[in-house]
Amino acid sequence: MSSESRCALRSSILRKQIVAVTGLILTGFLAGHLAGNFLIFLGPEAFNGYSEKLHAIPELLWLVRLGLIAAFLIHVITTILLTLENRQARGERYAVNGSKSEESLKFAKKTMIYTGLLVLFFLVLHLSDFTLSDKEGPASMIAAGEGNPPRNLGLYGLVWNSFLEPWRAGVYIAVMLVLGLHLSHGIQSLCQTLGFYRNDLVPGIRKLSLVLGLLAAIGFSSVPLFINIVRTPPL
């Protein structure tokens, strides 16, 4: 690495662009994850089959996982550093904080670091709930209808049983709303940071960002919501 590009890595704009690119990668991952989640609605065969396919080539799975972990860490660490710098840049605080912006959704922008950190903490719960937990054990057993003996439904059963607990479903739905908020600003923000400035596209990108954030929140919430409403799996 030349000294010049090392210096560029300390630059405000380049670091912002690193946040944008890693954000884009993570958004792509979320889209894939959401599509996978929807297979729950098709029943245990479809859902478990998809999960098995993902695990078919462990080397590839780990390659992708490592990539995601790297993107996640870079995203989190860089934003924390930038946020700390930004706090210092003001110097003496204003006695009165005002705004001239007429935008209605300022909340998402102001809370990016907090919504992001919340998702980070949630990830610990989420990984221990599903990714790292036993997918063939007693937690996967589901009694399908009256009188039938319980069956082991693998990951499908694990997800179903976990979300039957209302507190867990509640926590997941709450965090997914927060994630939606994060994305609603994040998606348009990364477009700006990566330099999209075409007049005819920018208003559309800003709206799309809101819509995608909302869709993500609804989409991810739909699974715990569905399980809590239906209670017994439609087998």
């Binding site: 590009s5 630059s11 912002k16 840049a89 003001r90 006695a95 009165v96 940071t193």
Partner: protein, 251 residues
């Protein structure tokens, strides 16, 4: 008969950059609503002087919204509540009788307070010195037709060039970032053929200087655009981002 109103002013007073500052409260009585904000301060200052007190120091020059000298936060809003207006072009009629106005200088680590409402904005000058120019061979002016510029580009460059460097963008930004200013300066040059020659070098040098001065990083709040008296668009920031990345890739 002119309309008059009474205002309560809470003004930041600070003797010098290294002495601590504090708010002082002044009553502005019977202020003609047709006065500009700065003229209102003139009236207050005349009274202060009459009473043997130090007048409020504030920057101003043209008083017609074109030089970029004036500026202060009024109740947390850069240049006050009006959009697309400098403080000198803001009128007292925009306020109501009995209003309390908290008047503060621009706050940024890169803009140290010199006195009261005056801040040192030479960080902007140093950014311009770093690359906000084009190198041209002086001599007789070239034939205008020899360098065709598309009308769209000319208009866009002109919009960017409207920046008066007042610093309201930095003051309004939650992160005290200067990217709207730098974006405008980069844009008006990068859009024109004369500016393309030094394009990469300019983007690198200006951003490096901006970072060195201690401005914050943009997180796309767009408060700058809302506060800008010249209504410079945040598209200029996106263009700066692209120009900088281009310079980075080209090495």
């Amino acid at each position: 008969m002119a309309n008059t109103i009474n205002l309560t002013l809470k003004v930041w007073r600070q003797k010098s950059s290294d002495s601590p500052g504090a708010f002082e409260i002044y009553q502005a009585h019977d202020i003609d609503t047709d006065l500009s904000f700065l003229e209102m301060l003139d009236v207050v200052n005349i009274n202060l002087e009459k009473n043997g007190k130090e007048p409020i120091a504030f920057d101003h020059d043209c008083r017609e919204g074109i030089c970029g000298c004036c500026g202060a936060m009024i109740n947390g809003q850069a240049h006050g509540p009006e959009h697309g207006t400098t403080l000198c072009q803001l009128h007292v009629r925009k306020f109501r009788d009995g209003d309390t106005l908290v008047i503060e200088p621009w706050r940024s680590r890169a803009f140290p307070v010199v006195r009261d409402l005056i801040v040192d904005r030479s960080a902007f000058d140093r950014i311009i010195q770093a690359g906000g120019y084009v190198t041209v061979r002086t001599g007789s002016a070239p034939e205008a037709h020899s360098l065709p510029v598309p009308k769209i580009d000319a208009d866009e460059a002109f919009d960017s060039a409207a920046c008066i460097g007042c610093g309201a963008c930095v003051a309004a930004c939650p992160n005290a970032s200067a990217v709207l200013f730098v974006g405008a300066k980069i844009s008006h040059l990068a859009l024109l053929p004369q500016g393309r020659v030094e394009r990469e070098r300019r983007a690198r040098a200006m951003v490096e200087r901006m970072d060195l001065e201690g401005f914050g990083n943009c997180s796309n709040h767009y408060e700058c655009e809302a506060a800008c008296p010249k209504e410079i668009s945040v598209r200029n920031i996106a263009r700066l981002n692209r120009e900088f990345f281009r310079a980075f890739v080209k090495g």
